[in-house]
Amino acid sequence: MAAPCAEMEPAAPPPSPPAPPAAAPGSAGLVCAQGRNLRAVLCQRCGSRVLLPGAATFARRELLLPAMRKKAAAAAAGGGGDVLREHWLVRDMFSFENVGFTRDVGNVKFLVCADCEAGPIGWHCLDDKDSFYVALERVAHE
């Protein structure tokens, strides 16, 4: 991956919300009262199931993800990426139904669709092994 993906927020401990953050109006229908995903999370392109309902919690964090490409490994030609702010946070890698992990880019791995490798759909920093983010904008909801 050519584009380094850095967090936009200042170096801060990963969010550990005792109370779930308020969801933006756009994602109101997706988050339950406990802050978990109401609906299953699917790949936008192939419909592969990434997360079951309730497997993740809503989290706000500014993360820079490269633009979606057919291959996650393809360099983000033209540079840049998208700053995405709304994510599903998963604590355990094995909570995913189906997901792929790219090779390391610095100390970051990106999440891609396991079946069609579309992505990146998510972000994971190796320094924090218990946080996996899936950007709402990069996925579909059942």
Partner: protein
């Protein structure tokens, strides 16, 4: 059936399939045939001269030291089948002492659930029953076919009861698997409902796919998970591993699949890949002889680094290119027979022939050997990326710092 309880699934499933009717799709998955000799894990290496070469160790248990990897005794499997039979019949108070005829219990055959989600094509495709396990003789331990029958089953209930169990968990495995089925780790009340809320996985397993470049490893994996085959093989440089979920006999299994494409230099694939893998799929291309000739080198790595109880599966890929075939099926079978416990299969990721079946069979084999509690606790976020280790030529033994040369 997908979401039903484990017990319910076990009860419901056997009625649907004919264990004896092996469809075309499973015809490709041959059970490794037992041979008279002792096929060692490493082809061409005669480990045991004969069944009685090590009298002290008991029938079929002797083996030279070193990095041999005997498989555990096969009597375990008939016991496990009886366990499953009990599950099908309803819950008993606990495991009865095995002692009944191992051959008397019908083998419940589960219908593998098609993988992936939302695949309309899967519904129309005939489901392939899992191959029943051979009742007599152990495909695992070649030493002393009579030995497996002679071993008292009860002795395997207690690990280390006189049999040199390489894996104490192996003996306890069947205990665990059988009794655990009686007390599902997940909340029993929940699991009894037909439609249950999503539950965490019952099992987490690591599987690696290895083989020379260009044999179609990635296509095999993609085919496994989705019904699309990419003609232009995608570069897999970018993907490290994938988490996939399958359901097998009512159990939910999370697989962490490492596809080692791009690291075919034998030395660069880290030993950690092998060590933690419960299943190893070794792929060659039937149309390219060199990929078959490379297999001993892969076996060296497996012998060196892989866990002794890892399930092995040899796959000859690209069955769709029959006209260009260079390796016959017999050659592939013969190679697999030489290695204890290795199954053989030919497949075509392009035609989706046998692809689901081989993965499911591999997972099924792994499950049969695994204790429930071990699996549930085993995998965590700890294995996120495997950094390459310093190169170790396969010929050299691993460094042992405290050994003095004398």
């Amino acid at each position: 059936m997908l979401q039903s309880s484990k017990e319910g699934a076990d009860a419901a499933v056997p009625a649907e399939t004919a264990p004896t009717g092996i469809s075309k799709q499973t015809a490709g998955c041959a059970e490794p045939q037992s041979t008279a000799a002792h096929p060692s894990r490493r082809p061409g290496q005669g480990r045991d001269a004969g069944p009685h070469s090590h009298p002290a160790a008991g029938p079929g248990r002797g083996r030279p030291g070193g990095r041999s990897r005997p498989r555990h005794c096969g009597a375990a499997r008939p016991r496990l089948r009886r366990g499953r039979g009990r599950c099908a019949g309803g819950r008993g108070p606990g495991r009865a002492a095995p002692g009944g005829g191992g051959g008397a219990v019908p083998v419940p055959v589960a219908v593998p659930v098609p993988l992936g989600q939302g695949r309309a094509a899967a519904a129309s495709r005939p489901r392939c029953p899992l191959l029943p396990v051979p009742r007599s003789g152990r495909r695992r331990w070649r030493g002393g076919r009579g030995g497996s029958a002679a071993l008292p089953h009860a002795s395997l209930m207690e690990p280390g009861s006189g049999l040199p169990q390489r894996r104490a968990g192996g003996g306890g495995l069947d205990l665990g698997a059988g009794s655990a089925a009686g007390s599902p780790a997940l909340s029993g009340g929940q699991s009894r409902r037909r439609k249950q809320p999503p539950r965490p996985a019952d099992f987490k397993l690591q599987v690696i796919i290895i083989g020379s470049r260009g044999v179609g490893k990635t296509s095999l994996m993609e085919r496994f998970t989705d019904d699309t085959f990419c003609e232009a093989c995608k570069s897999t440089v970018g993907v490290d591993f994938k988490i996939k979920t399958v359901e097998l006999r009512g159990k939910k299994i999370r697989l962490q699949i490492w596809d080692t494409a791009g690291q075919e230099r034998f030395n660069s694939i880290t030993s950690a890949y092998y060590r933690s893998a419960k299943g190893i799929i070794l792929v060659y291309d039937i149309t390219k002889k060199e990929t078959f000739d490379d297999l001993p080198k892969w076996m060296k790595m497996i012998d060196k680094y892989a866990s002794e109880d890892a399930e092995l599966l040899l796959v000859g890929n690209k069955l769709d290119c029959e006209v260009d075939r260079e390796i016959s099926r017999q050659q592939g079978e013969k190679f697999a027979q030489q290695i204890t416990g290795m199954r053989f299969c030919e497949a075509s990721a392009k035609d989706n022939f046998n692809v689901d079946e081989i993965f499911l069979k591999l997972v099924d084999d792994i499950l049969k050997k695994m204790p429930l509690d071990v699996i549930r606790n085993e995998l965590s976020n700890s294995i996120l990326s495997l950094q390459p280790e310093p190169e170790i030529p396969p010929e050299l033994p691993p460094p042992r710092p405290h050994v003095r040369c004398c």
